[in-house]
Amino acid sequence: MTLVPIQLYLILGAVLFTIGAVGVLVRRNVIVIFMSIELMLNAVNLVFVAFARQLQSMEGQVTVFFVMTVAAAEAAVGLAIIIAAFRNRETVNADELNFLRW
């Protein structure tokens, strides 16, 4: 049905990944940094699904399944860490969360 060339999906994936990467670099709020990481994971998922269709193989979609599971686990643990850090420092600013500094 779709005849959109795979390059466009790959470029869209690159755009989304870049936006996510820049988000991680420029934002100060830890939660927004986390959301940017989710954005990067989703960009990669898009590329996996596009290649799965191009190569007529289900393996790409299975990989997306695993990426989603890992993302869910990561979000749960990461947000728990953010809650614990907020309880100690009353902040979610990445510049002020430096208690691992020696």
């Binding site: 049905m1 779709t2 005849l3 959109v4 060339p5 795979i6 390059q7 466009l8 999906y9 790959l10 470029i11 869209l12 690159a14 755009v15 989304l16 990944f17 936006i19 996510g20 990467a21 820049v22 988000g23 670099l25 420029v26 934002r27 100060r28 709020n29 939660i31 940017s36 989710e38 954005l39 989703n42 998922n45 898009l46 699904v49 799965a52 269709r53 191009q54 007529q56 289900m58 393996e59 979609q61 299975v62 399944f65 695993f66 989603m68 599971t69 890992v70 993302a71 869910a72 686990a73 990561e74 749960a76 728990a80 809650i83 614990a84 907020f86 309880r87 979610v92 600013n93 510049d95």
Partner: protein, 198 residues
């Protein structure tokens, strides 16, 4: 602000359409609905993704991300990944984003001022991003040429049946390890978020 956003949207749509024509080597007469839908989805997705990193308020960032994830699910459907699209809506846009919103609500976060790092660092991040993007585009364009997507897929492609068959045969070990990962994540999240360990 809205006018600006709409103008940007239209511009992005035109740019994406031009991209389709140039990259795909497609003449405008043969432009079909799939390309128009793709251009629309892609421009909306890029806009909402930018909304995630530009918005001062974390709630607005989260809602922007929900929009992005929904559009991505639509794109999965057009790529014949039906089960993955469903999981995208239920797991990502549903469960994970609710978790994010819940934490934002719990911590009672308001607008960040300043939301971003120092301008110098911001410029550096933009430079790194541009470099990365150009590298990725070069990598994409170089070896592949302009291969059009396959017009048809085998019957049942992307259904639960096919995905499950793959999952429970070739990826069985990874599947089982994933369940352990989820268990560890549950325990870890509970331990971390608990105020005092008894």
């Amino acid at each position: 602000m809205i006018v600006l956003g709409l103008g940007l949207l239209v511009m992005l749509m035109i740019l994406s359409l031009a991209g389709v024509v140039v990259v795909g080597g497609i003449d405008l007469a043969g432009l079909n609905l799939g390309h128009v839908v793709f251009a629309l989805q892609a421009s909306l997705m890029i806009l909402s993704a930018l909304g995630v990193i530009v918005n001062r308020s974390p709630i607005r960032s989260a809602l922007s991300l929900v929009v992005t994830l929904f559009l991505l699910a639509v794109m999965f459907v057009s790529l014949d990944a039906h089960l993955v699209a469903m999981l995208q809506v239920i797991v990502y846009a549903g469960a994970i984003m609710v978790l994010f919103l819940f934490v934002i609500m719990l911590l009672n976060l308001h607008e960040d001022r300043p939301a971003m790092v120092r301008p110098g660092v911001r410029g550096f991040a933009g430079f790194v991003g541009t470099l990365f993007f150009l590298g990725a585009v070069h990598f994409v364009m170089h070896p592949l040429g302009a291969a059009p997507g396959a017009a048809t897929v085998p019957a049942g492609f992307g259904t639960i049946e096919q995905l499950a068959e793959q999952l429970f045969t070739r990826s069985l070990l990874a599947f089982e390890v994933t369940s352990i990962l989820l268990l560890v994540a549950i325990v870890g999240a509970v331990v971390l978020a608990k105020r005092k360990l008894a």
